[in-house]
Point group: C2
Chain length 131, copies 2
């Protein structure tokens, strides 16, 4: 997996949201309608919702605010870091889905949704080094 592309309704606002998390956006080409964030090992791309659907030749459907079958995770090295990162997501404009809490599997995690309803888990996993 090299790139994860999120469909967004307002590219400028979406880019500002992820920049507010401290993530670095590659300089855009003049007239470009796509933004790329180079994260550790994977690229996060933001592209128009309808344009992404059209590129795949899929009909655009109006998305319900509910579950879409996928979650992106942002891991942190401690519970306190999860709390701090969770607040950063909210400050950037994310919506609360589930506030951080101890998880059955022994970790600590919460969920937010971004400006376009994409689901992010903010997690501490004591059993791995994915943070």
């Amino acid at each position: 997996m090299s790139v994860v592309t999120l469909g967004v309704r307002d590219l400028i606002r979406a880019r500002e949201f992820y920049e507010a998390l401290g993530w670095s956006c590659l300089p855009a080409q003049p007239g470009s309608n796509i933004s790329f964030f180079t994260l550790d090992g994977v690229v996060l791309a933001l592209y128009g919702w309808d344009e992404l659907a059209a590129d795949a030749e899929l009909p655009t459907v109006t998305q319900s605010p509910g579950f879409r079958g996928i979650a992106l995770a942002h891991n942190e090295p401690s519970e306190a870091d999860v709390d701090r990162a969770y607040e950063e997501f909210l400050s950037a404009g994310a919506s609360v889905v589930k506030r951080p809490t101890a998880a059955e599997w022994g970790g600590y995690s919460g969920y937010v949704s971004d400006l376009d309803g994409h689901l992010w888990e903010v997690a501490y996993n004591p059993f791995d080094d994915w943070a």
Copy 2:
């Protein structure tokens, strides 16, 4: 972004699908209901569709087969490699969404959906080194 978790209806079949692509699954703990694939720089996790929704405390909705607002990309180093990888996805059980073709942006790409309708782009991008 450390982990991308896909909700799946049949964990065993979904794991077999991604293993058929040659991706390596971490050994499962006894009784585990989640599978992890360590890709370059990011972990792909497979987890029950309803369980993932429940973990985020979101209502499970029946998904339409249409666009869900996100695409995962698998990049290859040439057009021929895209064609080969595209056929591998199909052999593993993926469905054709859009067969590989020259893209307006100068690359070459196609789309498939996996067993649970998750959208994957298979792409060659002559302007980057993401393959």
